[in-house]
Assembly symmetry: C2
Homo-oligomer: 311 residues x 2
DNA sequence: CTGTTAGCGCCTTCAA
DNA sequence: TTGAAGGCGCTAACAG
């Protein structure tokens, strides 16, 4: 009866279901998992849960997994490599069917991965990856995004574009600079290293760099940025100097944070496909779990240029 | 040996541990849970994971629970009452030791709760609650927060304070208006209903309301708001009308969203204790699980006034 | 077609 | 001190 047999009369069935409900019976998923050798649970390890970026990512992951009857066991590595390491033990003990992780520290990756592989637990990296580690991942195409942003400015006729860069050690920073340079190159323009300013990517950095550039009478008619915060800082500096955006100087950001659309000058920027990153990671993981795809999958999502009033 | 006995020589122990590591052995937590009748897992049901507010909340929850060896099974109700209902079945099947929930729909609450109670699973409501349902909850004191914001303006000598309100049907909106009125009353000032403007609480609303108020030559020297977005809109309207903040008009927001500190005029606002909400909810739940606190606990956290340059 | 049973891996109890 | 056995609740296989 409990397995949906046919030879039970409607009334009996109804009665039994009523009793089930009344008793509050629910099949014990633990026992089932133990017996079946699968928990229908995915470990999701996030480098920093309180970062708004990952809210959408998790939402994407959860939506796909839930449809397939999977649950999310959530861990917050809190940008701490040691905590990330600890998590793996729990993941193994709890016999998760798979892992999605936004990794913190590259130095751990291979060791941790081999742990999972030994236990035959598939894993997908999200948003970050390491070149020499054989594992599926899904990332956004930073080079392309930055290329699109720069190209957008070039199409508007700008020739000297100040670039507000991020921390040089981040691969993301490097790729975005690449994209900027590639666009210039494609338009037959030289890339002037004086126009490229690395920073810690805070709003104050954008503000200071632009202030300084204006003071030095550095020649530029547009600004591209590693992220939206730098662009916000730039907007403020420009305004303080009585410059109009986009008439005197055009500005593009990167990420499309919540505030980009409602800042005093709505910001043209590049939207990271946050939700889609989660969705794709979950899909890849499921295909690994089902054994459909033994080989490693690399998915690179396309970011999208969002044109607003700052250009 | 595996249970940490004393009578094993150091070398043997080391050797065995090495083998354990080599084999990739990890105790099966499922079997343990089945046997022990507790899963060391907490169901966390969030009304909308992609809302940045809940990132910090989850972080707080996770930090406390992890210390005690608990894991977080995360669900996203996605502001959908039906999905919220479905989740409970899974929670029961998976035999979670407790539940923390930011509930979506009041109409479901009592039915769902009795389901949990029947299974003897303690539950804590977070951020929202329903008056007539006997369950522990942790919320922030909206009345107090709004009182503090308004009082701050009153102390600065403002007497006519425009209030940008939120959606009237939200208890949060109502409580914040209460706080505003209470402060006025305490300072012996009448509360002029013309100065209270409900809205959908978007930035445009703040902008339009202030524009309109200025156009109508409504008399006010300060603005208090239901949330930071309304305040941002107000700032923009003031600037467009050539008014200086805080010299001509002072402005306070509510929530302390990420951008409040870096907006063009850094915003005085009321900080919601997001992280602390999570921490408290987790602590209460743990005390229920341990049987330390049979009775219902109600925790009301104090929000904090953050003074910046807009006042 | 129905009912019984073994065993998933652990912890606890009891016996040796 | 150590070892063996029972049972948590489920499913799959097998016997009646």
């Amino acid at each position: 009866m409990l397995n949906n047999r046919y030879d039970v009369s409607q009334e009996t069935r109804k009665r039994i279901l009523a009793i089930i409900e009344e008793l509050g019976y629910a099949p014990n998923h633990l026992a089932r998992s133990l017996r079946m050798g699968q928990t229908k649970t995915i470990g999701v390890v996030i480098s920093d849960v309180s970062n708004p970026f990952f809210g959408s990512v998790i939402s994407g992951i959860e939506n796909i997994l839930r449809e397939e009857g999977y649950c999310v066991l959530l861990y917050n590595a809190n940008e701490d490599a040691q905590r990330e390491e600890e998590v793996f033990k729990v993941l193994l003990e709890r016999r998760v069917d798979g892992v999605i992780i936004t990794p913190v520290d590259e130095s751990n990756f291979s060791a941790l991965l081999s742990l999972l592989q030994k236990a035959n637990i598939p894993c997908v990296f999200l948003a970050r990856y390491a070149k020499n580690i054989p594992v599926s991942y899904v990332i956004a195409d930073d080079l392309l995004g930055s290329f699109l942003a720069t190209e957008h400015l070039l199409k508007k006729g700008h020739k000297r574009i100040l670039y507000l860069g991020g921390p040089p050690f981040l691969t993301t920073s490097q790729e975005r600079i690449q994209g900027y340079k590639k666009a210039l190159e494609q338009y037959g323009l030289p890339s002037d290293e004086n126009l490229i300013k690395p920073s810690r990517a805070k709003m104050e950095d954008g503000y200071k760099i632009v202030k300084e550039a204006l003071f030095q009478k550095l020649e530029f008619t547009a600004i591209a940025s590693f992220n939206d915060y730098l662009a916000f800082g730039a907007l403020r500096a420009l305004r303080e100097n009585g410059l109009s955006v986009p008439r005197d100087v055009a500005v593009v950001g990167y990420d499309d944070v919540e505030f980009a659309s409602i800042s005093w000058v709505p910001l043209t920027t590049v939207r990271m496909p946050k939700y889609e990153l989660g969705v794709e990671a979950a899909k890849i993981l499921l295909s690994h779990i089902r054994g459909e795809a033994e080989s490693i999958k690399k998915v690179v999502l396309k970011p999208k240029l969002i044109v607003r009033s700052s250009t």
